[in-house]
């Protein structure tokens, strides 16, 4: 028993966090409402649930010693439910009053870009992101070296995780306060860079050249229109376009390469792979060939005309006059490894304390 008691500190470590910390939270009120609700069986993720997740994350942050939380404002879709959720007194008490960034709201992706910049300028030690792959792509474009805690608010995502927000908040807080060192808590991600003449953009998971003529409703679900696919990583258990690569040659998030797949109409090639291309939608995709994509070796495309989808959303329209290249970059955004943070905290007894003899 003596050994066990020695494992308990008489001081609650987190009552005096190693350093004051600021954490930002970005939740996209528009995520999860695209045409995939019609073309597949994707569900709608309610904004009230996003607000509830934010409060649970704040409870975790507060328990880890974070006292300053910045929130991206919106025109009411999440902020309204957030206030209602904050007023609920069940669960751990939440005394931290999150502050909304003073910025104009445009109800577009520009809000996410601007909020990320302002959080970084304010010295955020971490940014919790609630959204899909597209939301995370926007944050990643501006977050620099500030690590992200990537939370999925939908059924069609590869980059963020489906994870309980309370635990996520705790992990983000432990990192931001320095209670768990960054070297064990943070992972470097890869990304894909595309250049179309003078325009450059990024994708975090997959970049797909399609025969869709227009950006239109953005989503990609028709496997017959896929030309080429590039992935930074691809789980064999992925959902979405990266699942195609995941069933050919799975690529981990840490592997120093990606995958480049040339697709073909299923009537033109005997090589096919069956993949969950969207929630509830499993398609056969024709495969012409595939190979590893190595960093520093841009692939120049010579397509006819169509669109380029970044993380599953058509973004760039091109025609034969455009010069397009795709490159894998190993120096993408940092993300917080929730399991690693909490394992480290457990090993170092960060969350233990000895409350004294019971009365």
């Amino acid at each position: 028993m003596t050994q066990v008691i020695n494992a308990w500190s008489r001081i609650a470590v987190l009552s005096v966090p190693p350093r004051p910390a600021l954490v930002g939270i970005i939740a996209n009120p528009a995520s999860g409402r695209d045409i995939r609700r019609l073309t597949s069986r994707a569900s709608v993720f309610p904004n009230a649930e996003k607000a509830s997740m934010m409060v649970r994350a704040i409870a975790g942050l507060e328990a880890a010693g974070v006292r300053d939380v910045m929130i991206m404002p919106d025109s009411g879709g999440i902020c309204g439910p957030l206030f209602r959720a904050l007023s609920v007194t069940t669960g751990s008490p939440v005394t931290v009053q999150p502050r909304f960034i003073d910025m104009p709201v445009t109800s577009s992706a520009d809000d996410t870009l601007r909020a990320t910049e302002l959080m970084c300028q304010a010295g955020a030690g971490a940014i919790i992101v609630l959204g899909g792959d597209g939301t995370h792509r926007a944050v990643a474009a501006r977050c620099g070296q500030v690590p992200l805690l990537a939370l999925s608010t939908g059924t069609n995502n590869a980059f963020p995780e489906m994870r309980e927000a309370t635990v996520a908040g705790l992990a983000a807080g432990l990192l931001a306060t320095g209670a768990v060192p960054a070297e064990v808590a943070v992972r470097r991600n890869k990304l894909l860079r595309v250049r179309c003449d003078d325009r450059t953009d990024i994708a975090l998971v997959d970049l797909c050249v399609t025969r869709h003529n227009y950006v239109g409703s953005r989503a990609v679900w028709d496997s017959a229109l896929l030309e080429e696919l590039f992935v930074a990583f691809a789980g064999a258990d992925a959902i979405g376009l990266s699942a195609i690569a995941g069933q050919l040659e799975p690529v981990t998030r840490s592997a120093p390469h990606g995958l480049h797949v040339r697709c073909a109409d299923t009537t033109l090639t005997p090589q096919q792979v069956i993949v969950p291309i969207a929630p509830g939608l499993i398609s056969a995709v024709g495969i012409r060939e595939y190979g590893r994509l190595l960093p520093g070796q841009p692939v120049v495309l010579a397509p006819q005309s169509g669109t380029i989808a970044l993380d599953g959303e058509r973004e760039i329209e091109f025609d034969p006059s455009n010069r397009i290249s795709v490159e894998l970059d190993l120096h993408g955004p940092l993300t917080i490894d929730v399991a690693a943070v909490l394992e480290n905290a457990a090993r170092r007894r960060v969350l233990r304390h000895y409350a004294g003899r019971p009365a």
Binding site: P29, A30, R33, D34, L38, S43, G77, Y214, G216, E317
Partner: protein, 324 residues
């Protein structure tokens, strides 16, 4: 659906959007003279919505419209010359001059009518959709409504009815940001009208109303689903009107330069022209030729409307009741 537009389809889309724009811009000028009776609510700026949706409809599909109905009428195939005469209150108008702007209806082309009752179109379109279902046809009904109407009980009741009876209805929420002078983010208790679909167990989708291709694609999927027996969809189209709620509205509730910025950066006709010409699908010369033809048509419609006779007093009671 995005790749299904032929060259003829692109030309038709541009012609329809340009006709609506020219019609509304002309009314904006002419209404200020005080010669036009009643009220007009202009659709300029929202053309991609009516056009992108109605291009998927057949003559025997029905639409129910709103008080801002000119664009829906033109996109569904109502004759603009008859519409102009109707708005001028002339006997040659679509409804013999007795309806005016807010009651233009033409059942022959599936246009159930513009509607002064906010949210009044929902129950009407459920009626046509039920008829379609009982007859075993594959016709669909489209209910256009605004962000103000999205808060009306009639719309909720219609969505519920369409969902439980699995009716072939597409509810198109044209969210232009203002219910008269009240901002939708003040009066709509959720960020997106589309979010309300989940309460009725139907898909809710958002489309960019400045982008014809985005609306056309989303509407195509929703209409295909309805024709195939998949039931109703709520499609929210985010857009903006270039003029006031009604002509004469001073719009003190809008930010300075708000409309000008939209015209310069997001205008649906501008975006459409830039995209189809940059890809070589259509030429600027072809689009300019349509502009000239449309202007000639609208000019002629105004000349004719002004010259046409008013309804006669003895026609007052005609067409009031319909025999079954």
């Amino acid at each position: 659906m995005s790749s299904s537009l032929t060259r003829e389809g692109l030309l038709q889309a541009y012609r329809t959007m340009r006709t609506i724009r020219e019609f509304e811009e002309r009314l904006h000028v002419d209404f200020a003279t005080g010669e036009i009776p009643g009220f007009v609510h202009l659709y300029a700026g929202e053309e991609a919505s009516a056009t992108g949706i109605c291009m998927h409809l057949n003559r025997d599909d029905y639409i129910a419209s709103t008080h801002r109905g000119h664009g829906h009428c033109i996109a569904k195939g109502v004759d603009p010359v008859g519409m102009m005469a109707e708005i001028w209150g002339k006997a040659t108008g679509t409804c013999k001059g007795k309806g005016g702007s807010m009651h233009i209806a033409d059942l022959d082309v599936g246009m159930l009518g513009a509607n002064g009752i906010v949210g009044g179109g929902g129950p009407l379109i459920c009626g046509t959709a039920l008829a379609s279902k009982l007859r075993g046809s594959n016709n669909v009904g489209v209910c256009f409504f605004g962000d103000g109407a999205s808060n009306q009980g009639t719309i909720f009741e219609a969505m519920n009815l369409a969902a439980v009876w699995k009716l072939p209805v597409i509810f198109v929420g044209e969210n232009n940001g203002y219910a008269e002078a009240t901002a939708s983010n003040f009066s709509v208790a959720c960020e997106n009208i589309a979010d309300r679909a989940s309460a009725f167990g139907m898909p809710g989708v958002i489309a960019d109303g400045f982008d014809f291709f985005a609306v056309h694609e989303a509407a195509g999927e929703a209409i295909k689903r309805a024709r195939e027996g998949g039931g109703p969809t709520l499609l929210e189209v985010k857009l903006s009107r270039y003029y006031g709620h009604f002509e004469g509205d001073q719009q003190t509730y809008r930010a300075p330069g708000e409309v000008q910025k939209l015209r310069e950066t997001k205008d649906c006709l501008m975006q459409f022209a830039r995209r189809v010409t940059s890809r070589g699908e259509l030429t600027m010369a072809e689009l300019e030729a349509i502009d000239v033809e449309v202007k000639t048509l609208i000019d002629a419609s105004v000349v004719k409307a002004k010259a046409d006779p008013l309804p006669k007093p003895e026609d007052l009671m005609a067409d009031v009741y319909v025999s079954y």
